[in-house]
Every structure is written in C-alpha cells, then in structure tokens.
Amino acid sequence: MIETRADKAVAIDAVGHGFGALRVLEDVSLSLEAGQRLAVVGPSGCGKSTLLRLVAGLEQPAGGRIAVGDREDPAGRLAGCALMPQNDLLLPWRSAIDNAGLGLVNAGLGRAEARRAAAPLFERFGLSGFESTAPRELSGGMRQRVAFLRTLLAGKGVLLLDEPFAALDALTREELQSWLVEALAQEPRTVLLVTHDVGEALRSCDRIAVLSARPGRVVLEADTADVGRDQVLEALRR
C-alpha cells in the first residue's frame, strides 16, 4: 500500500527554519505514526524547541511542510497538539486540579466538569490528595506531573514535550521518566519528546532522532530497540 500523508500523526518534510541570518533547522524530515513516541535529542541550541513550536503551528517553517493529521495550516496543527514546556508554568492562583483542567475549561467546560474529568487521572497517576493544593506547595516533581496531566487533558492526539524533566534533580527525573512511560501506557498518545538526556530518550520512546549542532539536521534516526547509548552519543559528537 502506498503511504499517504494522512496516515501519519505527524509528518515533517524537508523543513528548514531560521531567525534572520541564523539558520536553526535544515532539511529536517521526520514522521510519527499514531501512538508512536519519538525522542529528538541534540546539543543545546540545535533547534529542538523550535521544531516543537513549528509542529504546534505557533510558527510557520521558512521552508518545507509540516502536517499534524491531515492538517497543514497553523490553526489545524495547533488544534491537534498540546505543548508541555520545560518550566511547568502552572498558574499560582489555581489549585493543582484546576491547573490540570485548564485545557478543558478553555474548551468551554465548566470548572466543576473539568474537575470531574481530571479527578480520575489524579487518582491513577499518584496525585490523589493533592487536588486542591496550590502549585507552590508542590514539589518540583509533583508540579511536572500536574503539568503533564494538563497537557494530557487538553484532549489532543499529539503531545509535544519540551525537555519536561530537565529542571528536576537526577533522582526525581528518573522517577518521573518511569512515571511518564506508565502514564502513556494507560493513556496512549502520539508523543514528540525533546530532550538532551539520551537515557531518557531511550527509556521513554519507540524511536529516536539525533539532530546535529546548529543548523540542526537529522544525523541519526532509528528505533530505540535497535540502537545503544553509545551509538547515539557517537552521533551526537559527529
């Protein structure tokens, strides 16, 4: 069968992008099947976060094409993706559960309905008892859990995770990585994970793509089952 664009949850095709004279991404082509998890690793400043913003439709690529589902227009891509930023950016004036339900309230649900939708996820994902806690009273790891649930509850098929655990200490980071895999096993989504942590990429995702230093190009793309840490590090050094 000939594969068409619409078969892919995310299709990035020969994308190049820059800011003024600065080339950030060059000829990047990547794609994800529905439910697949792709980690993008690369050195700092190689355009990983820019790639997420492009996929989300927050910016238009200077060259190439991006489709989320069958939509190539920015509004269509925006409608298909939810972004989880590196800093949790929870709203200090909302309780944990009201932060998690933000995307539902934005979509027009009442606050009570949004809470009812979020409550079971708090139960299942180790946050029960923290529903009405203010974000500043939560630990860094707990805040990232809430931020992830907020992303999940936005009801999008594609999750864009931008170094979600980079700000955490090593121990909490490992704990959250397993937590994330567990959560995604229960709530499958298509995931594009940007990280500079090779271990995290290999543990959490089915596929991995390595970008070179700026301008970022794909120097390695493989199933995580087929590559080892050393190969990835080797590609990163190239």
Partner: protein, 243 residues
C-alpha cells in the same frame, strides 16, 4: 519586630523637633512645636474631624473612580492594540499637564460641589493604575502564552485566565501609588474652590499649629487608604505573597 522600627524613628524625630523649638525659642509662626500641634489637634478636634471626613470622601470617591476607569482603560487598550497605539502616547503626554493649573477650570465647568473635586483626585490617580496594569498584562511569560494556545485557549481566554491575573500584583502596586497621591490631590481640589475639607484649616498661614494639625490628619488619611489597598490585596490575591 523589624516592622515596627518606624515607631522609635518617628518618636526620635518628634522629640528632636520639640527640643529644637523649645531650646532655641523658635517662634511658632516659623515652626510650631509638636506639642503645639498636638494641642491644636485636641482643641479643634470637632472641626478637624468633620473636615477630615469631607476630605476623606473626596479621596475615596476619586480614588475609586480612578481605579475603575484606569483599569477599564488598560483592559480596553490591551484588547484593542490599535487603540493603545492611538491613545497611550497621548495619555503619557497628558501626565505633564499640571492638575493644579487646570483645577480652577474644572471648578468653573463643574461648580463648587463634590464633582470637580472627585474628578481632580481621579485625574491625578488614574495614570499609575493604567500604566501598571498595561505593564502587568505584558509581563506574562511568552512561553505560557504559547502553551495556553495549545491548550485550546482563545485570545480572549488567554487575557482573562492568564494576562489579567498575572497583572494583578502590578495593578495593586499602581493602586497603592494612586492611594498615596489621593490625599494631596484632594487638598489641591479644595484649594481650587470651596470645600469644608482640611484645606480650610490650612488657609491661615500664621496659625501654624493648626496647619500642622491638618497636615497630620491628611497624612493619617493617606496612610489609611494605603493600608486599605494593602489589606484588599492580601485578601484578593493571597497567592501573590511570597511563601
């Protein structure tokens, strides 16, 4: 208790002032002693109290009008960028118009009643609220705005759920600055035309003790309004306080 450190400082200043006046025999038309001011406060207490109430009413109404109008103007300018471009520079420029100079005109337009006084206080207090609110709206992190867009938020939702609450501490800062202007602005307005307020006790420049008493009351009113804003802030946005 560091927060009470101002009490010994104030007491020290008052004592030094009293000593200076007593020891150097400073005539009271040059500088009244604190004890003379206290005496005037007591002797004229009923007049001063009714005058203070008049001034307080002008302050409160003017301040409330300034916060409401200042916030509304900021919200409209934030939601309609073209209007902001068209109006904000003029608004900034208008701040160099001395309200003292136009106050008599306002009295001619609006008469000797409460209206011109409230308007003068509102004109003085308006700008800090608007300027701080506009800065506050712009202070929400760009990354949070982007994230909100991917979380189904319309521009309108982003304004009401992110930008406005994010600006709240700044808005209260603006209100506190406005509150500290309100007392002096009310006094301007009373000088411009008929009052019954504290300005009446300041007309006789030779009765310096009474002038001093009126100033003490005016300062107390300013402090009270400032404190009121702070209390409302703590109740309204408890999340903004550092843990």
């Amino acid at each position: 208790m560091r927060r009470w450190a101002w009490i010994p400082v104030l007491a020290g200043l008052v004592l030094a002032w009293e000593a200076w006046v007593q020891l150097r025999d400073v005539p009271d038309y040059l500088l009244p002693a604190p004890s003379a001011i206290a005496q005037a406060l007591w002797d004229e207490r009923s007049t001063l109290a009714s005058q203070a109430l008049v001034t307080l009413r002008e302050m409160l109404l003017g301040f409330a009008a300034a916060v409401a109008a200042g916030l509304a103007a900021a919200v409209v300018m934030q939601r309609l960028p073209w209007l902001r471009t068209a109006l904000y520079p003029l608004l900034v420029g208008s701040q160099s118009v001395p309200v003292v100079a136009i106050a008599p005109l306002l009295v001619i337009y609006l008469g000797f009643g409460l209206a011109p006084k409230v308007l003068i206080v509102a004109l003085v207090c308006f700008f800090p609220v608007t300027a701080n609110a506009l800065d506050g709206f712009a202070s929400a992190p760009a990354e949070l705005r982007s994230t909100m867009r991917t979380l189904n938020a319309s521009e309108r939702a982003t304004f009401w759920r992110i930008e406005l609450p994010w600006a709240a501490p700044r808005i209260f800062t603006g209100a506190r600055i406005a509150a500290s202007y309100a007392a002096v602005a009310a006094l301007f307005s009373e000088y411009a035309g008929g009052s019954g307020g504290l300005a009446d006790s300041m007309h006789d420049q030779y009765d310096t003790a009474l002038v001093g008493a009126a100033i003490v009351l005016l300062a107390a009113l300013a402090l009270a309004l400032f404190a009121l804003v702070t209390v409302v802030e703590r109740l309204a946005i408890p999340w903004a306080r550092e843990p």
